[in-house]
């Protein structure tokens, strides 16, 4: 049996991670990825349970933006009083697994597990999220640099994600999210799309659009974002073009074919953008 630590203070967690050891600690919070990866076998790793560290939870806002604590659950996000900027991320929260997963799974857990189909990543990319990391040195990294590949992140062995920061946009902003799956609940996406649009005088002043489950890491679509600038909010779907999907690299898997994903994403993006019409 390995060592199990459940510190109440972040410093204790970081000290534990800093100690020399034969194998890295497995970090545990909501358990929604930890336990499924260990079905039918004894758990003998060293475990660092961070669910008891108060400074890692909670959502706060100030002039600069919002801080989402690492162990914020999907349900806590849904219940938080947040502006329309967060509607897309909240919609993603509603479609993660089922209610049980939403009550336990955490935002940081989702990005650290770094599945290509992680439900929170497209929405967070579209929010220009930054990851705050504690360790021997504290640092912040844009989310698009934090996730480096399939189930790989830039997190070093002695580091912990402590929060996700969302900058306050310059203009009034709204967001939306669409998930495509083969059944209604408990579903891993075939493809998903998230968009945050900032509006000034009824036209798009800034756009951030991300697609997930269609590449090793969810990707922003800069060509589409550029095409949306200046568009009227009622005429956004027209701006979508298949050529803008170049950053994506979908694969064939049990859920769908690569060519289907490319085709479906165009539809998802058009519908996603059409949902901003008034």
């Amino acid at each position: 049996m390995g060592v199990y630590l459940r510190p109440r203070r972040l410093e204790e967690a970081l000290s534990a991670l800093a100690r020399p050891s034969a194998q890295p600690h497995a970090v545990l919070a909501g358990g929604t990825d930890f336990y499924p990866a260990r079905v039918g076998r004894a758990i003998d790793e060293d475990v660092l349970d961070i669910s008891g560290i108060d400074v890692l939870r909670g959502i706060t806002g100030d002039a600069a933006g919002w801080r989402l604590g690492a162990t914020t659950t999907w349900s806590e996000l849904l219940e938080a009083d947040l502006p329309p900027l967060f509607d897309g991320l909240k919609q993603a929260a509603r479609e993660v697994g089922g209610r049980q997963i939403q009550n336990a799974g955490t935002l940081a857990g989702n990005i650290c597990n770094a599945s290509p189909a992680a439900d929170g990543v497209p929405g967070l990319l579209a929010l220009d999220a930054e990851v705050e990391i504690a360790g021997p040195a504290s640092r912040r990294l844009p989310l698009r640099q934090f996730i480096t590949g399939v189930r790989r992140t830039a997190l070093a062995p002695r580091e912990l994600v402590v929060a996700i920061h969302i900058p306050r946009p310059r203009h009034d902003a709204e967001s939306a999210f669409l998930k495509l799956g083969a059944r209604r609940y408990l579903v891993i996406s075939i493809a998903m799309a998230a968009a945050t649009l900032e509006f000034a005088e009824g036209r798009v002043a800034a756009a951030r659009v991300a697609v997930g489950a269609c590449s090793p890491v969810a990707e922003r679509l800069p060509a589409l974002e550029t095409a949306l600038i200046g568009a009227s909010r009622d005429r956004l779907a027209d701006r979508v073009d298949a050529a803008q999907l170049a950053p994506l690299a979908p694969i064939d898997d049990v859920r769908g074919s690569a060519s289907y994903r490319r085709d479906a994403v165009v539809t998802l993006l058009r519908r996603l953008l059409a949902s901003f019409a008034r």
Binding site: G31, V39, D49, G98, Q100, Y185, L186
Partner: protein, 185 residues
């Protein structure tokens, strides 16, 4: 590790490895086998319990996280006299359990919902129970049972009647009747 917590309203002391799943502790150490394990991976919801009044998969909760918290399982739905909760009576009346393996999970998910909403809509019921898989029933009677869990207090099946009376059979169950059956929800 010693873990003291509240289980169905009573104080409980458990000791063991803190990484033990709550589902395993309930079933193997605490004699509460009402919580079922279908997958140990959070994919099926059979092990759904309430933790601090929120539904979670007990197979995904480490015992090290349970100290001082409130756990409710299906065993806690009956009252001190062993009388079934209205929700359970509603399941019986609607024929909402076939093999029964998902039933504890469905009941606990429904319990979370019904504490917030006495007469949930179909959409609210589906959202609340969406994380519990059932392979037997096709879900229809489960949804009926949850949406009418409080109304069913008025339509408890008469004693001696085979479970199959349902809320539309206010009279005693009569065998041998030809009946056209309509469902409207």
């Amino acid at each position: 590790m010693k873990v003291d917590f509240t289980l169905n309203g009573r104080s409980v002391a458990w000791a063991g490895s803190p990484i033990t799943r709550l589902a395993a502790a309930l079933r193997c150490d605490l004699g509460h086998t009402g919580t079922k394990v279908g997958c140990d991976a959070g994919d099926c919801g059979a092990c759904t319990v309430l933790l601090d009044h929120r539904q979670v998969c007990a197979c995904l909760v480490a015992m090290g996280q349970v100290a001082g918290r409130v756990v409710e399982t299906v065993e806690g739905l009956v009252d001190g006299n062993g009388t079934l909760a209205a929700l359970q009576t509603s399941f019986l009346a609607h024929g909402a359990a076939q093999c029964g393996i998902c039933t504890p999970g469905m009941l606990m998910a429904a319990q979370e919902l019904l504490r917030k909403t006495e007469r949930p809509t179909r959409g609210e019921t589906e959202d609340a129970l969406g994380g519990v898989l059932c392979r037997c029933t096709g879900y229809g009677k489960i949804v009926d049972a949850v949406m009418n869990a409080t109304a069913s207090l008025l339509a408890a099946p008469p004693a001696g009647c085979a479970p199959g009376a349902g809320r539309r059979h206010r009279q005693a169950c009569r065998l041998g009747e030809v009946r056209r059956r309509r469902h409207s929800r």
